[in-house]
């Protein structure tokens, strides 16, 4: 029943749309409940009531919340993300400036962390209980335990302030050569990798060990299948489902969850754009970012599920 796949994808996509709609409703409500509005935030500490009223009218904030939500929703449905209230630029333009930076950082981090994490997980699972496994365990556990802001700050202190090897800030627009590129991305990527590798490696190890304990692996072993083949050919395909999900969850963090790294390295990414948007009560921008993060998350999880299904004949033909 191979044609079950498109049906599944379609089903997932339509339920994603419902999820996105509900998320947008929740975000709108919460943002409206925050004290102060865009006009007050723009005008700041020394606003006069007349200015606030004029700006509210200008921005359409004097209309009832439901009308404003409807305006946003109808715009969004036709692909118009609206204008950012806090600096009179279109939301699409702002996202366009920042999104490539975030995607690049995410791509580099993924390209480095996923292979390392999977290898570490595999090796640890194969050498379960041995010295290598225990060593990897200690490493990954301590990586999980150390908060990323500490990793980032320590990295800056060591590599930028004391040794002077790397820049303390990441400027995406001043990349001239491959050397620059490596120097600029070294520390942010290192910090993110620390968090991600540990999570993914531990999940990979757990998923594999789960399979290695099962009866069919015991059977393979009794037949005389060599250990590497046993793990790669027999156990791994069955563990792809959980591993893909762990990877997807970790990667979804790379868009919206990297705010600490963006702050410490002054990296102009999309997460800090959303934080600004929330503190400026810039509803259109908040909504657009939330939709982006939510959409990316849903897609990643869907891809993970598809990987699991495709890698497993039993699921594929169900």
């Amino acid at each position: 029943m191979r044609n079950a796949m498109p049906k599944l994808v379609l089903g997932r996509l339509s339920s994603s749309l419902v999820t996105l709609f509900l998320v947008s409703l929740v975000i709108f409500t919460i943002t409206s409940l925050l004290p102060g509005d865009t006009a007050q935030q723009i005008l700041g500490q020394f606003a006069t009531p007349e200015q606030v009223a004029a700006l509210r009218a200008e921005l359409g904030l004097d209309q009832p919340p439901l009308v404003r939500y409807w305006q946003w929703l109808s715009g969004f449905a036709t692909g118009d993300l609206g204008m950012s209230a806090s600096n009179a630029t279109s939301v699409a333009q702002l996202m366009n400036d920042r999104l490539p930076n975030s995607l690049l950082l995410a791509a580099i981090t993924t390209a480095i962390s996923v292979p390392i994490a999977l290898t570490m997980g595999l090796v640890a699972a194969m050498r379960r209980g041995g010295k290598v496994d225990r060593a990897l365990n200690v490493v990954t556990l301590s990586m999980v335990a150390v908060p990323e802001f500490l990793v980032a700050t320590l990295a800056v202190l060591i590599f930028a302030v004391h040794l002077g090897w790397l820049p303390a800030l990441s400027y995406v627009s001043t990349v001239d050569s491959l050397g620059d590129f490596v120097r600029i991305y070294a520390m942010p990527v290192l910090t993110l990798c620390c968090v991600l590798i540990a999570q993914m490696a531990r999940m990979t190890r757990a998923a594999l060990i789960d399979q290695l304990d099962s009866a069919y692996i015991e059977m393979a072993r009794l037949k005389g299948v060599p250990p590497v083949r046993r793990v790669l050919r027999h156990a791994l395909p069955n563990a792809v489902g959980p591993i893909a999900n762990a990877v997807a969850l970790s990667l979804s963090y790379l868009l919206g969850g990297v705010i600490i790294v963006e702050t410490i390295f002054n990296y102009p990414g999309i997460a800090s754009l959303m934080v600004d948007a929330v503190s400026n009560r810039d509803l259109a921008l908040v909504q657009a970012c939330a939709m982006l993060f939510c959409g990316a998350y849903l897609i990643l999880v869907m891809v993970a599920d598809l990987c699991a299904i495709l890698s497993n004949p039993r699921l594929r033909n169900r």
Partner: protein, 546 residues
Amino acid sequence: MKHDKNDDRLVSPEQSLEVYRAMQRGLSRRDALKMLGAAGVLMAGAGSLPGVGRAFAADAAGQGTPKRGGRIRVAAHSSSAAETLDPAKGATAIDYVRAFTFYNGLTQFDEQLHPQPCLAETFETTDNGGHWVFTLRQGVTFHNGKSLTPEDVVYSIMRHKEPVVGSKVLSMVEQIESVRRVDQQRVEFNLVSPNIELPALLAVSHLVIVPDGTTDFSQGIGTGPFTCQEFAPGVRSVAVRNENYWREGRPYLDAIETVGISDESARVNALLSGDVQMINNLSGRNADRIGQMEGSQIKATNSGNYTDLIMRVDQQPGSRPEFVEAMKYLFDREQIKRVALRGYGEIANDQPIAPSSPYYFDGLPQREYDPERAASLLKKAGVAGARTSLVVSPAANYSEEMGQLLQQSASQAGLNLNLNRVPADGYWSNHWMKHPLGFGNINPRPTANILLSQFFASGAPWNESGWSNAQFDQLLVASRSEPDPSKRQQMYADMQTLIHDHSGIGIPVFLSDLEGFDSRIGGMDRTVPLGSFMGYMFAEHVWWNA
């Protein structure tokens, strides 16, 4: 009142002083024989041996003489997608710095906060401040090649009066009735009521001159020392030298890149690692750290920024004058300066005018910490042993620390203060001035009169404590049109005394602006006590020694 074209006077004393200092340093380092030899050669004829002459000149120049060229990166403390090149909307240091980088005002402040000519060559009033005529400098062009005309001035000022522009200085320009073109070179300002200090008002970053009709400010088209090469809000801006700048020889730097780094330790690390060369808004702890490092320096400026205790005099318990007075006696100002500010501040005396202001009254007796006197005043007010809440927030700098110290000294005097901590987010619209006891934070204002008019005049929207005093209001209005400086001085002294004695505001200390910079930046000894970054005007005054 008449000001002449005194551009040369504006730059030359400082420059000559710098040359003098450099000469001293250069000469003292030199071996006497060698110096005599070199001098002899120079005397014999510098033209014949240009190499020697140049070497000597370069060595003698050292650190102190402006140098052309170089690129620096400056990091301000706030970074947000709401950053703007529209001068009217400027909200934080980074916006003000950019305003003075790309634009010029009609006037500009000198180190004593006196307004000096800038785009206006001269300015004068004929009737003690009711009407002003500004004569524009000739041959000034905007970055897009357009010449500066009176229409640009009219537009730049009058747009602030439109509520939808969202100007931050609407309340200041309300006193300007109209701005009118007189002829090709002159504009006339008509004021609602006389103001002898109008030229000072026109020196603020919000009132810089933009081309007539501008609505899109993303290009930063002004007459300023730098042109805008790149501007991405919340990311960075790149300013490059304006080759056609009207002030001869300025700016010194080739380019200035401005970024915002909101995280303080990231900002400090960026300075220490050499990624940026100038940062602002430091805490005392980090200032100490930077001061200890080689290659970087600290600059502390008292520009009159203060965090004040607000006691609403229209609500209980602030409506009892003895209570207000008691609270002022409960500030252990020395302790607040030492503990909360780590010494980076100046003791204040419950009145808002800082010692750097030309109108500061130093004859006012300092109010000391006196818990016993406070206790008896509290008893007289009938609130001894009472419990009341005090609102503090990170939005009002250091208010949490001040609140804690106040809580301790209040408990000794028999008053229980409950600290009510509220978040910084939304503080100014939801909490500021809305509680019987709370804190505010006031940034420096360009003139003493603006400060007093905005925060102490009866019925002013930001009269924080709701204080009203007819005598004060009278003095305030009279001082605006008083042509005699010594009489004006006396009026300001009286107003400071009135605030000190009666208003519902307690000002324990002035907060210093702390900034750190790379020692290779020259010209940093210039101070304009209006804010960090040399009153936000550093761009055309600093150079790079590398």
